[in-house]
């Protein structure tokens, strides 16, 4: 880690974080990306816009979400664990922070419609929600396999007035939904904003989404101060594309806190990936020996992504953040642990981070350390799946 380096500031003018990031999109989308970039730069430096974004997050989405001292888990692990409660944000995860920002931006750009990709449906539901609030038309692309696995989320989006398009191409999962959303965007950039769901895609998305999620980290830093905890020894978050992790890391990037991102073993772009270009960005990707993208497989749909946001690739390369993987087999136990000890059923995604903390307590996490867990979402969406898994086991 370079001494005196400043982390998580802006990428370079072409959207690079070190050698990662950039804008690898068809020429047809360049203008749209530039439009988003300029609009966001303009909006983000406009106090009125920022105020409106914060006001909506406050009045509509329930921010600030609290930081909860996890007393019983802490005793159990011999640590001092605090949870940043994104599960309490409207629609049940941090995804709302991003979509509130992007839909407000879409409106500011004069767009009448947003499109989005979704895997399990969390980002889709969040986008449909934020679009409904503003009266924007909304179309969500979702791999056909996922529409079947997550049919209730499909219905939720429809209730919110969105159109859900099952994606029949490729592996019919999240990465194909991104492709399809890009394809759609080409045809309708005039009136449509592509509301990308994580810190991925072409510049300015990785940066913009991180900025819109950084409210997590800034709030948490202030709240830990208020609790008298100060800077925690570790900040731990699960990583799919990496938006909740980026959001919470942003509050601690330039403190001594260890930043730890936890991927699913079956979607471990840092652990098993190599540099590559996909979905508009250069980053770490899971790919075969010929550069064909591999499908990710994880118990948690939200981590089922073969890539990772480019800034994370950079944070990994630079050593500022560490990334580890947790296998499916450890996730259910972690979900049960948090549920039973703290009365919080976390999302399966979040349970990866819990599992890692439990595994490393007293090992790479020294006894008595203060740990901030980003509790990215609630597990309600997952309970049917968890039950099926536990039923199978017994």
């Amino acid at each position: 880690m370079a001494d005196g380096a400043v982390f998580m500031s802006s990428p370079d003018e072409r959207g690079h974080f070190g050698s990662f990031g950039g804008r690898f999109v068809p020429e047809a989308l360049i203008a749209a990306c530039l439009e988003v970039e300029f609009a966001f730069r303009d909006a983000w430096s406009d106090a009125e816009f920022v105020e409106e974004y914060q006001r909506v997050l406050h009045q509509f989405a329930g921010r600030p979400t609290p930081v909860t001292p996890l007393d019983r888990l802490s005793s159990h692990l011999g640590l001092r664990v605090y949870a940043k409660r994104e599960d309490l944000a409207h629609t049940g995860s941090h995804k709302i922070n991003n979509v509130i920002g992007q839909t407000l931006l879409a409106k500011r750009m004069g767009k009448s419609r947003v499109i989005a990709e979704t895997g399990a449906g969390q980002h889709g539901v969040a986008t449909a929600t934020a679009a409904a609030r503003l009266g924007l038309e909304c179309t969500v692309f979702m791999g056909e396999l996922d529409t079947v696995r997550q049919e209730l989320n499909v219905f939720r989006m429809q209730l919110l007035g969105a159109t859900v398009v099952p994606v029949l191409s490729g592996s019919r999962t999240l990465k194909d939904a991104v492709n399809e959303a890009m394809r759609e965007w080409v045809t309708c950039v005039e009136n449509t904003h592509y509301c990308l769901g994580s810190v991925m895609g072409p510049h300015p998305f990785p940066w913009m989404v991180r900025e819109l999620q950084s409210i997590i980290g800034h709030e948490a830093a202030r709240q830990l101060d208020e609790l008298g905890v100060g800077t925690p020894d570790l900040v731990v978050a699960c990583v799919g594309g990496g938006s909740n992790a980026a959001g919470v890391f942003a509050g601690f990037a330039n403190t001594p806190a260890r930043l730890v991102g936890i991927e699913a073993a079956g979607g471990s772009a840092v652990g098993k990936g190599s540099p590559g270009v996909l979905h508009g960005m250069r980053s770490l990707l899971m790919q075969d020996e010929f550069g064909q993208i591999e499908e990710a497989f994880s118990i948690s749909a939200g981590l089922d992504y073969p890539g990772i946001g480019p800034e994370h690739a950079y944070l990994a390369e630079s050593g500022r953040a560490e990334y580890y993987a947790i296998g499916d087999e450890d996730v259910i136990g972690a979900l049960q642990l948090l549920s039973e000890l703290e009365g919080i059923i976390p999302a399966l995604e979040t349970a990866h981070a819990v599992a890692w903390i439990a595994q490393e307590a007293g090992k790479s996490i020294g006894a008595g350390s203060t740990v901030l867990l980003n509790l990215s979402g609630r597990g309600d969406k997952d309970v049917a799946q968890v039950r099926a898994i536990l039923d199978d086991k017994s």
Binding site: L278, Q287, G291
Partner: protein, 255 residues
């Protein structure tokens, strides 16, 4: 000037509109025969699609073809080996997504293309801003870097993109992914914007799926690229002679 561009300029000077059919390499075991048939049918150059798992700017037809080809085991190496048996002598242009070259190694990719008789490459997701190194290695191997200009490309930007494009400029007829269409869309405006800034041959692609549309596009440009319509035919089981007939119908319309 790279060899590809020299050849294509010569073609234009001959007064002939360029007909550039697109093939997905490895889509059938005899795909190279299809290429030859296209040349017999009147193709002036051939686009060789190297299949990628995530063809972001392609429509359903080419997606399906790419997937099928990948399942048959197509790789850069295999398709270049296949090309060794190509009997026709015609300019070849590779088309693929950047990750394929990025992963194979940029220098190695350019060298491989050159060694296989491929004189240019279209990498639709490699924007001009990210293309510096790729251009550098292509210069070393006499591989032309072909860029697209889209209806959404601003005029300031057309100047830069067109200037960077070698061999020809790919004028996208519409804001759409590859596929079939009913008109030539914005082709005239796009070609005009390119002509205003450079004299590189300018071919129209995206949606040129009938001889009629090829004729229209040919009238306002230097040539056409025919992709999805041909790939559809092959997916549906066309043999070499059907490919030849298909290409000939476009040739006829263009002449």
């Amino acid at each position: 000037m790279k060899s590809l561009e020299a050849e294509l300029r010569q073609l234009r000077e001959s007064g002939r509109k360029a007909l550039v059919p697109y093939f997905v390499a490895g889509l059938t075991p005899d795909w190279v025969r299809h290429v030859e048939a296209a040349v017999h049918g009147g193709a002036d150059a051939v686009e060789i699609g190297i299949p990628f798992s995530d063809p972001m700017i392609d429509g359903v037809v080419i997606q399906e073809a790419a997937l099928r080809s990948l399942r048959l085991g197509t790789t850069i190496d295999s398709l270049c080996a296949d090309l060794a048996s190509l009997s026709a002598s015609v300019p070849l242009v590779a088309m693929t997504y950047f990750n394929i070259f990025h992963h194979y190694g940029l220098e190695r990719s350019a060298g491989k293309l050159h060694a296989s008789g491929i004189g240019g490459a279209i990498v639709p997701d490699l924007s001009l801003e990210e293309a510096e190194e790729w251009k550098r290695v292509c210069d070393q191997s006499d591989v032309a870097t072909i860029f697209l200009v889209a209806p959404s490309t601003s005029s300031e930007r057309v100047a830069k993109v067109a200037a960077a494009s070698e061999g020809f400029v790919y004028a996208s007829a519409r804001m759409a992914v590859t596929g079939q269409a009913a008109d030539i869309g914005d082709a005239e405006r796009v070609v005009g914007s390119v002509r205003a800034v450079c004299d590189t041959p300018t071919y129209v692609g995206i949606g040129i799926s009938t001889p009629q549309l090829a004729e229209e596009a040919g009238e306002i440009s230097d040539g056409v690229i025919v992709g999805s319509a041909l790939v559809r035919l092959i997916l549906d089981g066309a043999d070499a002679s059907q490919v030849e007939t298909f290409v000939a119908s476009f040739r006829h319309a263009l002449d």
